[in-house]
């Protein structure tokens, strides 16, 4: 098998996947230590999706994510420090610490959350795309959601409306085969999610979500299609979550064997092997990469540790836009 990637780009993809993985491993550790609280949904196992997909969008494009969005925000370019601080709930977090793990926001990078009601992001993405179309901007909106979300009415209503109005939105389903503890085949009558788009006359494609290059190639094409004004497109990334749904989960719904089998398709391990086969990567390279990432994480943790808590007086600040001063 030949690898259609040059060395630098290959390194970059690997580095980005590792950045997410190590960041989230740190999150899990900090959760056990009580620094991070509430719900924490890890993306471990699914890194190839965010890493392959997100850089296909320009800085003008918009991203709408779910509560499993750490990787998306990192790859979109929000620095790790404010993300870690958000997880701590500190005022130097990317949303002043108010949202925590499930609610990352970054206006400068057009990152619209961090939305935690399943399916709730789809109509919002449709509206962002509508605004672009009405203002004749050639921007694309990326809308991430899970396989579980396709059961919600909002999925179907959003696909229909986006197609009807030919809106520049790219629907990106991260199919990790489970909606919490309910397997795809136990919540969908038609498990081929890409086919659902047919009903709305939206072109769609399923992609191996454990293969970062496949994700990248398919997403790039889909973005071109949408940007050309041909209406929405749907990609289904077939992937797998290695960890529990959130930190509270006894995983009664799947076997250890199944998880172990999927771990053999770990997107990071596989891609490392590909790079090594091309002699693009040595042990020393990998060590350097890991060292740099570890340093970045340590810095992010100290950024979060040194942040302050939002003062109590600010509890209701930002509920409404402040009135403009007269004159």
């Amino acid at each position: 098998m030949t690898l259609v990637v040059d060395r630098d780009h290959g390194w970059e993809l690997l580095r980005r996947m590792l950045r997410i993985r190590r960041f989230e491993e740190k999150c899990a550790e900090l959760y056990s230590g009580g620094k991070i609280r509430g719900f924490l949904h890890l993306y471990i196992g699914e890194e190839a999706v965010a890493v392959g997909a997100i850089p296909c969008f320009s800085s003008e494009d918009a991203i709408v994510g779910t509560y499993r969005e750490h990787g998306h925000a990192l790859i979109r370019g929000t620095p790790m420090g404010p993300l870690m601080a958000e997880l701590y709930g500190k005022a130097n977090g990317c949303a002043r610490g108010r949202g925590g793990s499930m609610h990352f926001f970054d206006a400068a990078r057009r990152f619209y959350g961090g939305l935690a009601i399943v399916g709730g992001g789809l109509p919002v993405a449709v509206g962002l795309a509508l605004a672009d179309k009405m203002q004749q901007r050639r921007r694309v909106t990326a809308c991430f959601f899970g396989d579980g979300a396709v059961a919600e009415g909002e999925f179907h209503e959003s696909l229909n409306l986006a197609a009807l109005w030919k809106l520049p939105v790219l629907f990106l389903c991260e199919n990790n085969l489970y909606a919490m503890g309910t397997a795809l085949g136990r919540h969908q009558s038609q498990t081929d999610i890409a086919r659902k788009a047919d009903a709305y006359a939206i072109p769609a494609e399923a992609v191996n979500g454990m293969d970062v290059l496949a994700v990248e190639a398919a997403t790039r094409e889909a973005v071109d299609f949408v940007r050309a004004g041909q209406g929405p497109y749907l990609l289904e990334y077939r992937t797998y979550r290695f960890r529990a749904h959130s930190m509270y989960d006894a995983e009664l719904y799947r076997t250890k064997d199944e998880v172990a089998r999927w771990k053999q398709r770990d997107p990071i391990t596989l891609f490392q092997q590909q790079l090594r086969a091309e002699e693009f990567l040595t042990d020393a390279d990998l060590d350097n990469m890991e060292t740099a990432i570890a340093a970045e994480i340590a810095e992010a943790v100290s950024f979060a540790e040194s942040g302050s808590w939002e003062p109590l007086e600010d509890l209701t600040k930002d509920l409404y836009t402040p009135a403009k001063p007269a004159g």
């Binding site: 509430g38 500190k90 108010r98 499930m102 009601i117 309910t182 009664l252 939002e310």
Partner: protein, 325 residues
């Protein structure tokens, strides 16, 4: 009689219902293989099988609506909506169908449906997972709204709800599931018309329900040490409201604080306060006070979340100011 957790009490109630009536079935997200988000139906899929323990897709509007239909069709469904936050997707079915069909059909159809859901804040799960909207539900005529706060009520109110011919909504405060309490068999079956006085007192009435009951009891403890005798009334049933128990308490103490985790404006506390003042105004030594949540989406960090919610200290302060201390 022994101590059990609230979660075990709910589970015991569900199990009894499933065992005693073959028409009872449970459906909702992750009630089966996962064992229930709060483990209230752990083991049920094995015990009762997939016909009666139905994992649903993430389709709140449809599975609540299907509960209405199944009830109309002769079944005795218990629908679990994972949390009140997600019940917002099912509001149309609840408000426009469950609550209206009996009256609108001139009494021809009734809907013997029980819907359970977790509610409330206090676990640092931020703005989209911390709603306390049982007060909203209590606004709707045509449904019954319950807020069990004790293990006895968690089990007993569920069983009583299954005797009702019309839709009943049960709000279980998520904070309560791991808490232990004494199961009082003598309080069974629970009477769905009566509020409960959880602590007798003479100087002031603390009127509350659900997760806030425990905060009110804690405040009452503190007040006791200061020489203030607080009576704690657990409303338990938000619709139909048992105002007579409230009035009896207020007529004795002449002062009242209503504690409600909902947002202050248009809160259930506002309704209780209005009813007290309409009927017992001249029995009062001062205005009815309210302790509600600060009107803001509930933030993630603990210090802000704590500040946003009713707390025992805020209740004690309100009592102090009512009593001129």
């Amino acid at each position: 009689m022994g101590k059990i957790t609230y979660r075990e009490a709910v589970r015991a109630g569900l199990r009894e219902a499933l065992q005693s009536n073959p028409r009872v079935f449970l459906m909702g997200e992750d009630v089966g293989k996962y064992g229930g988000t709060y483990a209230c139906s752990k083991g049920f899929l094995d015990e009762f099988g997939p016909e009666r323990i139905r994992d649903t897709p993430l389709s709140e509007s449809t599975f609540v609506g299907a509960g209405i239909g199944a009830a109309l069709g002769g079944m005795r469904p218990i629908v679990e909506v994972m949390t009140v936050n997600f019940s917002l997707l099912a509001l149309d079915q609840i408000v426009n169908n469950a609550a209206t069909i009996r009256h609108m059909s001139g009494g021809q159809f009734s809907i013997p449906l029980v819907v359970r859901m977790a509610t409330g804040a206090g676990r640092q799960v931020a703005a989209q997972h911390s709603h306390s909207l049982e007060g909203w539900y209590a606004h709707i005529p045509g449904i019954t709204v319950l807020a069990p706060a004790t293990v006895t009520d968690a089990r007993g109110m569920l069983l009583a709800a299954l005797q009702e011919p019309d839709p009943v909504f049960i709000f279980e405060h998520a904070y309560l599931y791991p808490l232990e309490g004494e199961l009082d068999e003598s309080a069974l079956p629970v009477d769905l018309t009566q509020a409960a006085v959880r602590r007798a007192g003479t100087n002031i009435s603390l009127i509350t329900f659900g997760g806030s009951l425990w905060k009110a009891l804690e405040a009452a403890d503190q007040l006791f040490h200061e020489g203030i005798s607080a009576e704690v009334v657990d409303l338990r049933i938000l619709r139909p409201l048992d105002i007579s128990t409230v009035l009896a308490s207020v007529r004795k103490t002449h002062r009242a604080v209503v504690i409600d985790e909902g947002w202050r404006t248009g809160s259930f506390a506002a309704e209780v306060s209005a009813q007290i003042m309409e009927v017992a105004f001249y029995d009062l030594d001062g205005p009815v006070a309210r302790i509600c949540s600060v009107e803001v989406p509930i933030p993630y960090p603990k210090h802000l979340e704590d500040a946003a919610l009713p707390q025992p200290e805020k209740i004690v302060q309100a009592v102090h100011s009512l009593m001129g201390r």
